[in-house]
Subunit: 145 residues, 2 copies
């Protein structure tokens, strides 16, 4: 059930680009594109890329951000925010400000999704009603499966 192979000491061995790409259902080109834009920075053993869990976590965040309709550049600023140093107070206050913005954005999206699901439900009801009527008029059985 472990998704990543690990050695006897429990240290996870890194993944290749093909492995991460496959596991996330994207192409290696996509993964490298995200690296070009600075969204991930896998370790290098010589010329090969090594993806650790941290990288895979970030990739997950990226793809989720994409599903939510955020542009990659914005996604970069967000996940950079998450592991920023945030040492000094000014920095912390800036980060908190950004967080507020993101929250507003996400709450708008939440409303959008909820509204759409609701409307979809109403529409489905109408369809089912129509379907029931159609069944009644096309067959004379009236009530059945």
């Amino acid at each position: 059930m472990t998704s990543a192979p690990s050695d006897a000491a429990g240290r996870e061995s890194p993944w290749s680009i093909a492995q991460v790409a496959d596991s996330f259902g994207v192409t290696h080109r996509t993964v490298r594109h995200y690296e070009d834009l600075g969204l991930i920075a896998p370790e290098r053993r010589g010329t090969q890329r090594l993806y650790h869990r941290r990288d895979r976590t970030r990739l997950g965040l990226i793809l989720r951000g994409k599903r939510l309709g955020f542009p990659l550049e914005e996604i970069r600023t967000i996940i950079d925010l998450f592991d920023a140093p945030r040492g000094r107070r000014t920095q912390l206050e800036y980060v908190l400000g950004q967080v507020e913005q993101r929250r507003h954005d996400l709450e708008q999206r939440l409303r959008d999704v909820q509204d759409t699901i609701e409307e979809l439900g109403e529409f489905e009801q109408r369809c089912r009603a129509d379907l029931a009527r159609a069944a009644l008029s096309s067959t004379s059985t009236g009530v059945n499966a």
Copy 2:
């Protein structure tokens, strides 16, 4: 408080492209682009476009779909679904199938948004904790505004 001007008989007068564009916060180019892709089809008085409430409703759906990260082509199939004839039973069953797909998609997005908001909240807590500690170490006031 009425958003659209109407005559004495209560019939709403149609809007110009500039009016709809402004009211939705997009450019006229955007509105015409959606028309090019077949997402809206305003009435024509001669060469001028006249936007009725139906068009504005659709535009609202389009923009919401965009906020949710759906591509315009997919949005078109969705809103076409909404005012499709759906007369025959085969058609109705097809429509219901499509609705199911949309619902799955939207529920995924709902989870995405909720998870992100939650993680954002946790992150914010950590930041606030850090901020409190920073305040303690930089000032000797301890507890204040």
